[in-house]
Symmetry: D3
Subunit: 136 residues, 6 copies
């Protein structure tokens, strides 16, 4: 259950702004699949446009971080922010971009380690070493 109706693609596309975004998603992703995130956001067309137009830039294959690394960062944030839907969608996206079972196991091990030391450091309230300060 959700706080908005998850629109069918055809209902959503009755709004031309939504149709333009959905068409661009299909073109960029080379698939007809429009997942629930976009069909829920379609109730808020301005927000849909702003979110997709930025996501397309941020997650593009151009740039100095490869697409799989970007997905691993997205997964890590989503896990620590506890976003159930996002964990599912970005883990699936990482697999689609080539994440192997071995890489996923190592990813989980790093996440588990980071959580553990985050908890310890926060409990101990340790001061930051001067060596870590940004050069200025």
């Amino acid at each position: 259950m959700s706080t908005v109706k998850v629109l069918s693609v055809s209902d959503a596309e009755a709004d031309p702004r939504v149709k333009a975004v959905f068409d661009d998603i299909r073109a960029v992703r080379k698939t007809d699949f429009i997942n629930n995130f976009w069909r829920g956001l379609a109730n808020q067309p301005e927000l849909l446009e702003a979110t997709w137009s930025r996501l397309k830039v941020v997650m593009s294959a151009d740039g100095s971080l490869d697409p799989l690394t970007k997905e691993l960062i997205y997964m890590a944030v989503s896990i620590a922010n506890n976003c159930t839907y996002c964990i599912h969608s970005h883990t699936a996206a990482a697999r689609a971009k080539g994440m192997s079972d071995e890489q996923y196991e190592e990813f989980l091990a790093v996440v588990g380690m980071a959580f553990q030391t985050n908890g310890l450091v926060t409990g101990l309230q340790l001061p930051i070493d001067e060596e870590f300060e940004a050069q200025s």
Copy 2:
């Protein structure tokens, strides 16, 4: 200010279990620098041993994820868990492992995007698409 005294290296190494861990940190990291995390944990020698012995395995250069990617995952978790110390130490570690300014900018852009969509999806409480389910 911290909830335990951050021990000096010499005070900490009065305990032979601590000395053994610190020696191993120096050997593995090829540096004499022992940062505050380890000097705070030195008050809890069993926990120090367990944490270091696992961290050494998880963050090792062997495996299918390269060391910089592991640091980026660690940074992402630490930001979303809001661990101030960890953000500083792992951002510094990522730079030491070659993170460029351009990569850091892209990393931040992905983190910002992930936070934003985490917030939207959590607000909308969207159901998970069947397409994202693990094959069984």
Copy 3:
């Protein structure tokens, strides 16, 4: 599934302390509907009494913030704390208090923006400007 049995209203009201709270909820809210939060808390009558007696004061229509604004604040906290039940119940409450679709879209846009900049600022660990300090 929950960690306590969600009591039926009649089972819950077998305890006179619970009945008194439920009667007050019905009177204040002008409805017979007792939602699961209260029927779960009914297993802990002292906690039920303390929670309701405070909530009634905090969310009352008297005061300098109007009821819808209070619900929007409640929703925002619940989203960032990731409380699924609370997001549903307070989004429904906000709608009942007059939140329009346009207001909800703007609310979500602010939430998304806040999440995004929270992530960026936490990643960058920016120092607080002196201009923001409370006057003393």
Copy 4:
């Protein structure tokens, strides 16, 4: 201490993209004050442009939520996400937009109540009432 150098305004504006953003901030906000958030983001010009251009739209005075309400929502998210800098900057912004001491006290009371019931509901793992589901 931060993970990037917080640039002086003049150093930052050596980059024409940064100067254009800073000029727009000054024009929109009708002040010469450029706070640390923008001076930190100036190290990442593309991210600076994207963040400001969206923030300007989201927090604009046009629309169905008034500017103070938007600040209260921003504060609520920032508190629950524990973003120290953001709490300071948006509490200051809310005061600048007219938040009274009485409104701040009521805001804090709602935040405290929301945190408390978020914790209780999450502990009890209560199921969502059908009455809260979005109409479809």
Copy 5:
């Protein structure tokens, strides 16, 4: 730096409602020390009264959980919620109530383990075993 002025005890007690709360804190805790939490809340007298009157009941020595156990629970929540001030104050309170160094080490080990498995479970999105459901 804080978002309100932390009042001196004498300034705060100019308000008779604040004075009554501070007198009760001194009587219950058998100390003249009024820590910053109460001196900050003194700007919001109604919230101060409500918070203290409830805290006094919840943390009282009567009941089935002993005072140290309650402090350990309080510390654990504060660490996971990342409340710097609360971690400091409740770790100090736990020590005052007899927490030994050995107990603190074990506490930290449990916290670290819980964080780690929280991260793994959230990453894996595991379904809840029927065996864990509350009997009904």
Copy 6:
């Protein structure tokens, strides 16, 4: 739905490393029940071994904190980290280790109070009293 297949016990035990861990779980816990956490982690045998071998030490009955207190700490962290599965499994474990309804009510009251004051303190950004600093 999960991001990995939750393996049946027999499928999981086809891997001898998994079988060794499962046998040890059964021996230590004196039960044949292997809950989903371990059956999900069985897809990542190295992570399974590392997690169980540490959990067994941390949660052992030896030491200065009794097993029920450890479970209460685990529950508190899991609630504040919002780990649905962990809340269910550790609440069930606490009940199995003797947590009474009265103790659970008091536990929830402390959790609710901690959440509330965490929110207030974070909102007010109160400075830490010198009295709380660790002696050095």
